[in-house]
Structures are given as structure tokens and as C-alpha cells.
């Protein structure tokens, strides 16, 4: 079930909230039970066929976790068996087809299986692996309560697209948390803003991006740039919008989730971008792959190898296609380059140039990410560099600018920390006694949130273009 669906907004969500808050706070297990039941229903909405994979993942994690308790024998074997069993469905569902296709390209004649990828499998598999690794390392104790571990894996706000949560942060809250009106209210505001990001901005810009990437021989230089920038913005508003909704819902149930974005398009280097984009995934790879491989506290050659491994896996995690592999390697090369080649020179450049450098590289990277094939990526990138079959400019490019003029106008400042800047100014002014600022701070976000919810609902009614991009991962 998508957050941006009528069934979720005007059915599932109010039902979940009502059932949750009808149970007195002192019955914590009851409230957790409501969340668990609603989470399983949320996942099963996409088909009961999805549930066995999710439940098997929970069962393996729970059993392996218990066997990994300190003092038990064979912990190493149990850990790797647990990790292997959790990774197996991911590998089967996501990569079998890709592997078969490539083996067939080498001359074999394998049947390509048509397996439907269970939604969110990449996310809940990584959560399960992090749980097992943390128990194995002794960072957290194993969870004995199966329902709690299942709720950690299946908690519906973050089940499909993250953020990737650590049990060390989430588990204790299941036993002891407080839901307060200010938190619930702030969560609801954030949810509405996230919904608007997705429905009002990302989907419209996505239409422009889709047109450009499908232009083929009509692709002009202008259209290639507009399409790639539209996709860059679409991806941010889509994914960060979803994350805002997830974090808002978490807050509303007293279960705060980790931040996943920190204004990534304000980065001044590729390395900084990855500290601001999909933060929980970057941390996961850092903690469970990069550092165990030796991180950067090793020889240069080994460090480069580590970077290569991490980014190859990052690329493959996002999708089973060569475009994702190349995209991962692209970032490996950029990060290695910034570390060993041009990082020093970059830091001496004026800040606007560093921003431009980062934005250009990010934009080129998203072309690789979005393209359906390496050939298409090559076509769009070469068009951006001036080699376009459709010439310098085209009517299609102008249409994309005119048709989505309002989205462009709102999207560009919305990727910048304007909201932070504005609220700081208002807070400063409020502290100096301004009643207007106090009223604006108290009412502004809430009134805006209600308006955005209404606008988003109307847009949802009139639109069929509403699938979240990160579902495919």
C-alpha cells in the first residue's frame, strides 16, 4: 500500500491511529500489537503472497538472534547462516534474472525466471542483517519476543522504503515510549509536507523526466538537461517526501525514526553528498561492509578496493542492472578521486564553484541511475554534452518548462534549507516579542499542512501517475 493512495490516507491511516490511541498508554504491548497487526495488513495489501518472505525473514532473525546470545557456542556459524538465510530471498528475487540474462549473453540458454520482487525486500533484509550483526558483536542483546522483532522489521511507516533502522535504537522504544500531543502534531505536519512533496512536486516533475528519457531521436540539448534536472528533483522529492511521511508517522506513534536526508543538493562534493543523501543506507554500508573490510585505515590500494566493493554493492542494491553497477562504480571513482586526486584543489575553489561541481556530478550520476540501459544513459549524457540528435532546443523542452512552471518555481527553493532559515528568523523574532511571529510559528505549518493535504488529495484523485520510485529497490 502506498502512502500516496486514497486507501491509505482515508482508510488505513485513520483506522490505525484510532485503534492505536483507543488502547490506554499503559497497555504498551496492546499498542505494539495494534501496530504489528496494521503493519502486516499494510504489507499484505499488496498481496498475501508477499507475507511468507517477510515472516520467514523475521523468524530467521529471531531464531538466529537467540542462538547468537553471548556465551553460546558456534556463534560465528550461526551468524553467517542467519545472514545467508536472510540474504537468500533477496538474491533469488532480485538478482536471479539479471544473472541468467548475463549468462545467456555469454552463450548459455537459461530460462529467465519471472519472479515478482516483494516490495521493500532490500530494506527489511538490510535491517535484519544489521540486527544479527549487532547481536553478534554484542552491541545489543537478542530480542526474545518474536512479536517485537517482527514489528521492528515490519513497522509499516518504514517497511517499504526505509529509513533503515537499527534495533538498538528501535527496540528499547517498544518497551518504553511516550506519545505526546506536540510530537503527534509535529509528526502529522511532517507527514502532510512529505505527501505534498511526493504528490504535488515529484509526480509532476517525473512526467517531464519520463518524456525526456523517452525522447530518443527527438532529444535536444535543452531537453536532455531539463529531463535530467527534472529527474534529479523528482528523485529527491519522491524519496525525501516518503521519508518525511515515514518519520512523521513514526513520530505520531512515539517511535522516532532516523533522518535520511540533510539537504543533499547543497553538498559541495560527492563525498558530502553521500553524507546527506539516504543517510541510513550510507551508514549501513559503512558499519557493516566498509569498516569490516578495513575502511580507510589501510594501504591506499586496499582502501581503493574497499571503496570499489562498497560502491559496487551499493549500485547492485539499488537494482539488478548494469546501469546501477556503472552508477556505483562512478561514485567509487568520484570518491577515490576526491580523496586522492583533486580533493585538495576542490577545497580551495570558491564555494559556488564547489556547489556547481557537486550538482553537475550528481546530475550526471542520476542519468545513469534513471536510464533503462547503458545505451540510453549514453544518449542522454552525450546530448547533455552537446551531441544531441534533436539540436540545441526543442518545443518539447519549452513545453516542459511552461507546463511545469509552478513545480520548477517551488522545487528549486524547496531543495534548499529555506524552511530552516525561515523558522530560525521567526523564532528569533518571536524571542524579541513579536506576536505575529509567534502566531506564524504556531499556526503557519499546521494551516499549510492541512492545505497541502487537501491539494494532494485532489491531485491524487485526478492523477494516475503515483507510484513511488523507491518501491523497486
Amino acid at each position: 500500500m502506498a502512502f500516496s493512495s486514497m486507501a491509505f490516507l482515508f482508510g488505513f491511516l485513520p483506522a490505525a491511529v484510532l485503534c492505536y490511541y483507543l488502547i490506554p498508554a499503559r497497555y504498551r504491548a496492546g499498542r505494539n500489537g495494534v501496530l504489528l497487526l496494521f503493519s502486516l495488513a499494510f504489507y499484505a495489501w499488496g498481496g498475501l503472497r508477499l507475507l511468507p518472505v517477510l515472516l520467514a525473514n523475521c523468524l530467521v532473525s529471531w531464531a538466529a538472534g537467540l542462538l547468537l546470545a553471548p556465551g553460546r557456542r558456534g556463534r560465528r556459524a550461526v551468524f553467517w547462516t542467519g545472514v545467508g538465510l536472510n540474504l537468500l530471498p533477496l538474491l533469488c528475487f532480485k538478482y536471479t534474472g539479471f544473472l541468467a540474462e548475463n549468462l545467456n549473453a555469454l552463450g548459455l540458454k537459461l530460462k529467465i525466471p519471472g519472479l515478482l520482487l516483494p516490495a521493500g525486500i532490500s530494506f527489511f533484509t538490510f535491517q535484519a542483517v544489521s540486527y544479527l550483526a549487532d547481536v553478534y558483536r554484542g552491541t545489543i542483546p537478542p530480542e526474545r519476543n518474536f512479536a517485537r522483532l517482527t514489528l521492528y522489521t515490519a513497522f509499516f511507516p518504514q517497511l517499504l522504503q526505509g529509513p533503515i533502522v537499527r534495533y538498538g535504537d528501535f527496540g528499547p522504544l517498544l518497551a518504553d515510549r511516550r506519545e505526546t500531543v506536540p510530537e503527534v502534531s509535529a509528526g502529522a505536519v511532517r507527514f502532510c509536507f512529505g505527501l505534498a512533496k511526493k504528490v504535488l512536486l515529484a509526480d509532476a516533475l517525473g512526467t517531464a523526466a519520463n518524456g525526456a528519457f523517452a525522447a530518443g531521436d527527438r532529444l535536444s540539448v535543452g531537453l536532455a538537461w531539463i529531463g535530467s534536472i527534472a529527474y534529479t528533483l523528482q528523485l529527491y522529492f519522491d524519496f525525501s517526501g516518503y521519508t518525511d511521511m515515514a518519520l512523521g508517522l513514526g513520530q505520531a506513534f512515539g517511535l522516532p525514526l532516523p533522518e535520511n536526508f540533510d539537504y543533499p543538493y547543497t553538498a559541495q562534493s560527492a563525498a558530502e553528498f553521500w553524507r546527506r543523501w539516504h543517510i541510513t543506507l550510507s551508514r549501513w554500508f559503512r558499519d557493516y561492509v566498509y569498516i569490516p573490510l578495513g575502511g580507510n585505515r589501510c594501504s591506499r590500494g586496499r582502501h581503493l578496493l574497499n571503496l570499489l566493493a562498497v560502491w559496487l554493492l551499493t549500485g547492485l542494491w539499488h537494482g539488478a542492472a548494469w546501469t546501477f553497477v556503472v552508477w556505483g562504480l562512478y561514485y567509487a571513482a568520484l570518491l577515490a578521486g576526491e580523496k586522492y586526486l583533486w580533493g585538495g584543489a576542490l577545497e580551495r575553489l570558491p564555494r559556488p564553484v564547489r556547489h556547481l561541481y557537486a550538482l553537475l556530478l550528481i546530475n550526471f550520476g542520476w542519468v545513469l541511475f534513471r536510464a533503462g540501459s547503458l545505451g540510453q544513459a549514453g544518449d542522454v549524457l552525450s546530448a547533455m554534452l552537446g551531441f544531441a540528435p534533436g539540436g540545441l532546443w526543442s518545443g518539447e523542452a519549452e513545453y516542459d518548462l511552461r507546463q511545469y512552471a509552478w513545480e520548477w518555481l517551488i522545487a528549486v527553493p524547496a531543495v534548499l534549507p529555506v524552511r530552516l532559515w525561515l523558522s530560525r528568523r521567526l523564532e528569533f523574532s518571536r524571542e524579541r516579542g513579536s506576536a505575529l511571529s509567534a502566531a506564524a510559528l504556531a499556526l503557519g505549518p499546521k494551516v499549510l499542512a492541512l492545505c497541502l493535504l487537501g491539494l494532494s488529495a485532489v491531485r491524487l484523485l485526478s492523477s494516475t501517475f503515483r507510484s513511488f520510485l523507491y518501491f523497486q529497490f
Partner: protein
């Protein structure tokens, strides 16, 4: 204030989230069609094991729920009004308001001009067979190609939008040439309208059809062409008709997609015969008392292009009981409707088929059974390269 605003906000939000399902349960379950969208609303999904297993139930429920939200039409109308008047988008609901007319938003992708010759040859072949067969039976076949409104007003598109210029120029030309090369009597109304200076009032500004004036010009061109073939048929001249503008609001296909919000005062026109040729009418085999122009009972009630002959039927027969005149068969799309109100007056019996809806027998068998002396195919140019429907005129043995 902060505390109050938080509680008030949460109360309002929850009320909004609950109002929609409550309203849907109370009021909206019985609606079956969306008038402005011209489609049937999704039905409440039935609970099946398969739907539960593969998630089809969830998707079907979402479709149903989205279609039955209370006030849906009002909300979408408001949204359209905002897109049109406030945000002033170049295209709203895939309709382009451009220089006094409403045009469809067309995809930029188009066939290459060079592709049309082969396609036209393929498309013309069945009509050539039909034409030969009609001629062999002593009759006359004429194919009347009529530009659709977007083709007629193609120069009104903003320069940055696609008018499908290649389709209209190269596609229509290749089609006409392919027909001519195969001996098909093809009347290109686009060329006729061009020779007449493409008068603005020949086409609707807000509908994809021509106006009654455009239909009348086509009627005269058809009779001229039949006269050139040797048919001496009675003609309804302009003096024989009263061209009357109806008082009713005209809900046209393009403006309908905009919830009729695009301001225009266009009214439908009918040509009332001063000395009407009486007829007996049959629709789909049943005796019918439908008149040529089906008008609303009150002036304030809206009307549509369907006022001409009452819309599309699989088969309509108009008998005028004048055995000295030839019989005719007309088949084609909705552009025939306005023409039928004129053409029938020139024949003894006029049979009208829309092969998109008629499935009684093949066209070949139909002509074999009723032996019409004049066979007319009337189609708009956006259908030239489609398969099936009124292009399925000859089945290969």
C-alpha cells in the same frame, strides 16, 4: 496558543481523514458513471482468494475508492479551474486552450514522413477491393475523408507543441495518393475546405467534430462528386434549409474534459428543411421515432454533438419511399451523423452502419444483401491508419 493549535490541528486532521470514508459509505456508493470524464466508475471489488493472494483486490479497491470519494466531481472541477485560470498551464486534462479553440495535447512522437507510403498502401488495399466490388455490381463507391478538428485548426497550436504536422500533411497526402493509385474514388474534404478558404465556422472550437456548416459543405461536395459520377440526385440547397442556432448550451468533447469551464458561447446549429423529406426510421432493426435532430426538452438543458441523429448506432435505416431514387449505404464514424440529416434526402433508402458497433454481418455480405447503388465511407483523418472498426471493410478469404 501552541497547545491549542496542536490539538485543534489534530482534531481537524482526524476529522478530514474520517470524513472521506464516512461520506463515501453514506453517499457515493451508488454512482456508476463520471459524466465529464465520459467513463464508467469502478465497481466495488469482489472478494476473491486470487485477488487477496496477488494484491489485485487492493488495486481494485483503490480504483473504486478514488472513483467514489464524495464530492469527487466538484473537487476535480475546482482543480481544473485552478489549473486553467490560476496556474494557467498550457495543457489541462490533456486539452490545449489555444487561440480561441480547444485542441488535444498530442504526443511529440510521430511517424517519419517516409513511413506513410507503405502504410497508406496497406490501408488502401481493402478499400480498393470494396470499390471494385461495388463497381462490379453497378454501383458507385466514394470514400470521404474529413479532417478532424485538430487537423483543421492545426495552425492554432503554440509553436512549441506538436500539431502532428507530418501526420496531417504527409499522412493525409499519402493516404489520398494510395487511394487514387488504386482507383478508389476518394474525396479529400481537407482539400475542399482549403479551396473554400478554411472558414472558421466550419468547425467547432470546443468539439472534435465539424459544425453543421462544415457538414453542409461536405454534403455539397459529396453530391458534386456523385453528380460527376453520373448520379442525378436531388440536392438540399441553402435555400431549402433554415440554419438555426440552438439556444441550449453546447457541451462539446474538448470542453467537457475541462468540466465545461473554458469560456465560450458556441451553440450547436441545425439545418431544418423548409419542406422536410418524410422518412421512416429504424435503429438496430427496430422501428424508431427519433427525429433527425434530437433536442433537449428545455432551452436551458445542454446538448452535445449527439443531437445529430441521436448519436452513433450500429445500424440505422431511413426510408423515404421514393423508388425512383437510388439506395445508399453510408458507413463510417460519428462525422457521418450530421451528414446523415442531409444525405438521406437524396436517396430512396439510406442505410447507415458504424462498423465499430455493428456486428450483424460483414460489410461485403451487407452490400450483397441490400444492393445499394451508392456506397459512401465517411471517416475523419485520425482514423486513416487504424485497423479494425470502419477500416475493416474487406475480409481476406
Amino acid at each position: 496558543m501552541e497547545k491549542f493549535s496542536q490539538r485543534a490541528f489534530l482534531a481537524l486532521l482526524l476529522a478530514a481523514l474520517l470524513a472521506v470514508p464516512g461520506g463515501t459509505a453514506l453517499w457515493s456508493r451508488k454512482d456508476t458513471a463520471a459524466y465529464y470524464e465520459n467513463r464508467t466508475l469502478a465497481q466495488f471489488p469482489s472478494l476473491t482468494a486470487e485477488g487477496l493472494w496477488d494484491g489485485g483486490l487492493g488495486g481494485d479497491f483503490e480504483d473504486w475508492y478514488s472513483d467514489h470519494v464524495p464530492g469527487r466531481t466538484t473537487l476535480l472541477k475546482l482543480d481544473t479551474a485552478a489549473q486553467l485560470n490560476l496556474l494557467r498551464r498550457p495543457a489541462v486534462n490533456e486539452v490545449v486552450p489555444a487561440e480561441g479553440v480547444l485542441l488535444p495535447l498530442l504526443p511529440y512522437e510521430e511517424r517519419e514522413a517516409g513511413e506513410y507510403a507503405a502504410l497508406a498502401a496497406e490501408a488502401a488495399e481493402p478499400f480498393a477491393r470494396l470499390s471494385e466490388w461495388v463497381r462490379a455490381g453497378g454501383g458507385t463507391f466514394c470514400y470521404v475523408g474529413i479532417p478532424e478538428q485538430r487537423a483543421y485548426f492545426r495552425d492554432r497550436y503554440p509553436a512549441y507543441l506538436s500539431a502532428h504536422e507530418t501526420e496531417i500533411s504527409a499522412g493525409d497526402a499519402a493516404y489520398a495518393q494510395a487511394m487514387a493509385e488504386r482507383g478508389v474514388n476518394f474525396l479529400d474534404m481537407g482539400a475542399v475546405y482549403n479551396r473554400q478558404g478554411r472558414p472558421e465556422n466550419y468547425y467547432s472550437a470546443v468539439d472534435h467534430h465539424y459544425s453543421y456548416y462544415g457538414a453542409y459543405a461536405a454534403y455539397r461536395a459529396i453530391l458534386d462528386r456523385l453528380a460527376a459520377e453520373g448520379w442525378n440526385l436531388p440536392v438540399l440547397t441553402e435555400e431549402d434549409l433554415d440554419f438555426t442556432e440552438l439556444p441550449n448550451p453546447y457541451i462539446a468533447t474538448r470542453n467537457r474534459k475541462l468540466y465545461n469551464l473554458w469560456p465560450n458561447g458556441e451553440r450547436a446549429v441545425i439545418g431544418v428543411q423548409k419542406n422536410p423529406v418524410p422518412f421512416t426510421r429504424y435503429d438496430n432493426g427496430e422501428l424508431s421515432d427519433r427525429p433527425l435532430f434530437v433536442l433537449p426538452e428545455e432551452d436551458y438543458l445542454p446538448t452535445t454533438y449527439n443531437l445529430y441523429m441521436g448519436g452513433d448506432f450500429g445500424e440505422t435505416v431511413l426510408e423515404t419511399d421514393r423508388p425512383d431514387l437510388p439506395d445508399a449505404l453510408i458507413f463510417g464514424d460519428s462525422f457521418t451523423n450530421a451528414l446523415e440529416t442531409l444525405l438521406y434526402a437524396s436517396f430512396n433508402e439510406t442505410r447507415i452502419l458504424d462498423l465499430r458497433h455493428y456486428d450483424g454481418m460483414s460489410l461485403e455480405d451487407y452490400i450483397g444483401r441490400y444492393r445499394p447503388e451508392v456506397v459512401l465511407c465517411i471517416q475523419n483523418d485520425t482514423f486513416y491508419y487504424l485497423s479494425g472498426g470502419n477500416n475493416a471493410v474487406w475480409e481476406e478469404p
